[in-house]
């Protein structure tokens, strides 16, 4: 149950797996993404509603073969240059895209968590996405209305970051919840990184709890959401999102940065220290 992030990834993530590292602007599992890179996972189908920096890093390092997504960018800043390089020039490898809308992907996660083969929404109305995504018309047997059916998302591995877990592995998160519960419940295997491990999960407003028996591995990773934030623990590193635009624009600079801060660091603590040093240096 409680394990190290390294062991969790070793045990639960295989080359070629379909992996969802979810987090909707909050609690983004960056440390887990870095561990996938350190362990050189390849041929992954990456799923995420809002792929941002950590997905840019996974794609730029050649871990992914396919991306299932609905919005891929650097929020408030602009493009993801490594994602664009893969899609526009096939570097470092071609990237297959399965593109959805947020509403479609949310319904697909919900269907997966509900153990249903498809979700239903009023969406994908005569736009060009219909031809580029996995959606099928479905008719209401009572009213005849035609709606959109989306195939359930059932990742091999669901990975999320949460604020806390207790020693039995019950997980607690609060603030913006995104699709994290659905990601864990829809996945065959799941990994949760947490800011801290406590004796008792005292109830908190707005918090949800994932019982230990719904999760395969819980690993301590303080600061593991960087550059995103963990509500109640630390703020979003807005400067880093801006800086990433520069770092990721040039392929070599990206490589050097990843070498220095991810490949040459053993875990999230070393990563945080290494990034902190270079930030200080930059100032």
């Amino acid at each position: 149950m409680l394990t190290s992030l390294r062991e969790a990834v070793e045990d639960l993530v295989r080359d070629g797996d379909t992996v969802a590292l979810e987090g909707f602007t909050h609690l983004i599992p960056g440390a887990a993404g870095h561990e996938l890179i350190r362990q050189e996972r390849h041929g992954l189908t990456l799923i995420r509603m809002t792929p941002d920096i950590v997905y840019d890093q996974l794609i730029g390092m050649g871990c992914a073969r396919k991306l299932v997504f609905s919005w891929g960018g650097n929020p408030g800043v602009g493009s993801l240059h490594r994602l664009r390089d893969a899609v526009e020039h096939g570097r470092p490898a071609p990237l297959e895209l399965e593109e959805h809308s947020h509403a479609g992907m949310a319904a697909a996660y919900q269907a997966g968590a509900s153990n249903l083969p498809f979700g239903v929404l009023r969406g994908y109305r005569s736009n060009d996405l219909v031809a580029r995504t996995r959606v099928a018309p479905i008719q209401c047997p009572f009213t005849g209305e035609e709606l959109a059916a989306v195939p359930a998302l059932r990742p091999d591995v669901g990975i999320i970051h949460a604020q806390r877990a207790d020693r039995r592995g019950n997980v607690q998160l609060w603030g913006i919840l995104g699709v994290q519960k659905e990601t864990v419940l829809a996945s065959a295997r799941s990994i949760v990184t947490v800011e801290e491990i406590v004796d008792e999960l005292d109830p908190r407003p707005g918090a949800i709890v994932l019982p230990s028996w719904t999760v395969d591995a819980v690993a301590l990773a303080p600061g593991g959401a960087h550059p995103s934030y963990a509500h109640g623990y630390y703020e979003r590193d807005n400067d880093f999102y801006v800086a990433w635009d520069e770092i990721s624009r040039d392929r070599d600079r990206f490589q050097q940065w990843m070498q220095r801060h991810v490949l040459d660091t053993a875990d999230v603590e070393e990563y945080r220290a290494s990034v902190a040093r270079s930030t200080v240096a930059a100032v």
């Binding site: 509603m49 809002t50 960018g73 526009e88 005569s126 919840l177």
Partner: protein
């Protein structure tokens, strides 16, 4: 003096009434909705797709996930609930959209420039836009008016323009007339010719094009006091 961004935010805010429920993204829409909330429409309800309902940020958020949105919200719901119960539920009055391209019918492209399979520029993608465009009552579009953005043919239709009620640009205001976007207003210092030049199709112009009232002192003070963080 004021910037064209400020003119756009002010014109968008002026169109929001007290009690309206607005689905807002980051950037100008969030600025406009918060400006309305701090001026004439204190009861304007801000809904962010991250799941925060009734958020009341004191500063402009840089991300739709900023912690302050959750802290100040009346309710925080999961993303699946947001799209099913709230957006598709038909509870949103106004949805703001931006895009890289728009056509004369208000259809938007935020997916790709060039061919989908051989993209010149791969854009972030639709996100919430396809269903915001069809599930809210009124769509407000905000984007800068240039021939590259206001195109005769979209490279990709990410969302439909059927519910677009107004397009707010840095040059003026367009509204659909018989299904075609028509210039009805130009901002101070802008001519109809400027707007025509900035449009990639033969722009329809209303008979009586009005000139936008410049931002009032009160509007500018409120706007700038919000921008400590978001700018």
């Amino acid at each position: 003096m004021y910037s064209s961004d400020e003119m756009m935010a002010v014109e968008a805010a002026r169109r929001l009434d007290d009690g309206m429920v607005c689905f807002v993204g980051i950037g100008l829409p969030s600025t406009a909705a918060n400006l309305a909330r701090h001026t004439h429409a204190p009861g304007c309800v801000l809904v962010y797709e991250s799941g925060t309902i009734g958020a009341k940020p004191t500063e402009l958020p840089l991300s739709i996930g900023d912690g302050e949105l959750a802290e100040t919200a009346d309710a925080v719901v999961s993303v699946p609930e947001m799209f099913a119960y709230w957006l598709q539920g038909g509870r949103i009055d106004v949805g703001f959209l931006g895009a890289a391209q728009i056509d004369r019918h208000g259809n938007l492209n935020s997916t790709v420039i060039g061919e989908y399979d051989r993209p010149k520029v791969r854009l972030p993608g639709g996100g919430g836009a396809p269903e915001i465009a069809t599930e809210v009552k009124d769509v407000f579009v905000m984007l800068r008016q240039t021939p590259r953005a206001f195109v005769d043919r979209l490279d990709f239709t990410t969302s439909r323009g059927d519910n677009v009620r107004v397009v707010i640009t840095d040059l003026g205001i367009l509204e659909p007339v018989d299904g075609e976007l028509t210039l009805v207003q130009v901002h101070p210092g802008t001519s109809v010719a400027d707007a025509r030049e900035a449009t990639g199709w033969e722009l329809r112009v209303a008979d009586d094009v009005k000139t936008t009232d410049p931002p009032t002192e009160e509007e500018l003070v409120a706007l700038r006091s919000l921008q400590t963080k978001g700018s």
